[in-house]
């Protein structure tokens, strides 16, 4: 039995076909979840945002005209759902004072690779929400500063400055000695910029 094409799956799902809907879901769920998880910064919000993204996508599917690639179309929906989820969440303290338990010690990593993907994921969760959102949208998802500015309602310059702060913070987190390096920076890395 031939494997249905993506277009056939889309058409089937648009008509409410359960098998086609599930096949589309299985194909793209990891990608959708990855983007909302990284923007959300925690599992609960990510689960909700991913569900919302899929519901929106299935609602909108009959109007999908194939002008953009389906993966691109779905990705945009996922990003929007994650951002809306963040806006709707009650404000909470952005800066955590302690490292999360699942952030590996830099010296414990068996691969000895300080930039292993799982450490990056954990470090992303350590970033303040605003920085994390911009870092994920720019460095992970490939949005331009103009696109980020439009989605977040900020100036492109703000997006740039927050990105640079976020990269610097990530670097410090990954080196695993944020406080020491911060001290080093204040005493040794001052600049006349």
């Amino acid at each position: 039995m031939p494997v249905p094409s993506e277009r056939e799956l889309i058409d089937g799902a648009a008509q409410g076909d359960r098998a086609a809907s599930r096949a589309l879901y299985e194909r793209y769920a990891p990608r959708v979840y990855a983007v909302v998880r990284r923007i959300a910064g925690d599992e609960d919000l990510a689960e909700d945002a991913a569900q919302e993204a899929w519901i929106r996508a299935f609602r909108a599917l009959p109007g999908f005209r194939g002008d953009a690639r389906f993966s691109t179309w779905l990705h945009r929906i996922a990003v929007n759902s994650a951002l809306q989820g963040l806006r709707g969440r009650r404000r909470r303290s952005e800066v955590q004072e302690t490292l999360p338990d699942d952030l590996p010690d830099p010296g414990d990593d068996e691969s000895a690779d300080p930039l292993a993907a799982r450490r990056l994921e954990a470090a992303l969760d350590r970033l303040p929400q605003g920085m994390r959102t911009i870092l994920v949208l720019h460095d992970v998802e490939g949005f331009t500063h103009g696109e980020i500015a439009e989605r977040l309602g900020v100036q492109p310059g703000t997006s740039k400055s927050q990105l640079f702060k976020a990269r610097a913070r990530m670097r410090l987190i990954l080196k695993g000695s944020e406080l020491d390096l911060a001290g080093e920076r204040s005493s040794d890395r001052e600049t006349g910029d």
Binding site: G16, R22, Y25, Q51, R59, I77, E121, V140, H145
Partner: protein, 240 residues
């Protein structure tokens, strides 16, 4: 001794070229070069992060919601109805009479002869008559029962959707959509913006409406595509 470059400055140099002073410092400072290399590597690995599997049994949860909204067919039931099917769904006599009246009103007002809801609506009888005509029609139908009022509401919602669909089609055609993206991306972007504005206004009135949500999302995606077309043709695309 010259002070080191800050991490934020180095983070900027991942995307941008250093100025003369920064370049001179980097040439003579292995520590800052090492930090910059680390930031570049970090950025490269971020761009290549793998997908992440969702938690346990998320499809089952999603499936229940899709069923509840009629977005997938329940076992043994037909698949969800298309827009065309909705339009031909059976209605009561009260609805039929009123719908016929509204249709006659619209046709008589010239909408039918000029194409339903022309792109700008300028000069159409519909726009000229305003809501007063519909009010008169409703008044002439006498006092409506609750069921009839619900039918009228459903009818006007249907007309609203139809009008939006028509409007969308016209805008898309204007944007060069029908000719396979041959239109100017700047024009497309502006037209998508106007369509988005109409869609968002409608969403204020009916935030949960699946058709409107779908329309807005699709237009957002198409506007994104137009924006990419604009930036792709701009010489200073990477401006940061």
């Amino acid at each position: 001794m010259e002070r080191h470059l800050t991490l934020e400055t180095l983070a900027r140099l991942v995307d941008e070229s250093p100025d003369e002073r920064e370049a001179a410092h980097l040439d003579g400072c292995p520590q800052c070069r090492r930090e910059l290399d680390g930031l570049k590597e970090q950025t490269q690995v971020l761009a290549a992060l793998p997908s992440v599997r969702p938690g346990a049994a998320p499809w089952k949860v999603l499936e229940r919601r899709l069923e509840a909204e009629g977005l997938v067919a329940a076992p043994g039931r037909p698949t969800r109805r298309s827009g065309a099917a909705r339009k031909t769904a059976p209605r009561t006599m009260a609805w039929s009479r009123l719908a016929a009246g509204i249709l006659l009103f619209l046709l008589g007002a010239g909408v039918g002869s000029s194409g339903l809801l022309g792109t700008s609506g300028e000069g159409s009888g519909w726009a000229a008559a305003g809501p007063g005509g519909i009010e008169s029609l409703l008044a002439s139908a006498g006092a409506l029962s609750l069921a009839e009022a619900q039918e009228v509401l459903a009818t006007t919602e249907e007309w609203h959707r139809l009008a939006l669909e028509q409007y969308r089609e016209r805008v898309m055609a204007e944007a060069g959509e029908a000719d396979g993206h041959t239109g100017d991306p700047h024009v497309r972007y502006a037209l998508m913006e106007s369509l988005l504005e109409v869609g968002r206004e409608a969403l204020w009135a009916a935030p949960a409406d699946p058709f409107l949500n779908g329309l807005v999302l699709n237009v957002q995606v198409e506007q994104d595509a137009a924006r990419m077309g604009m930036t792709a043709t701009a010489p200073d695309r990477i401006w940061y």
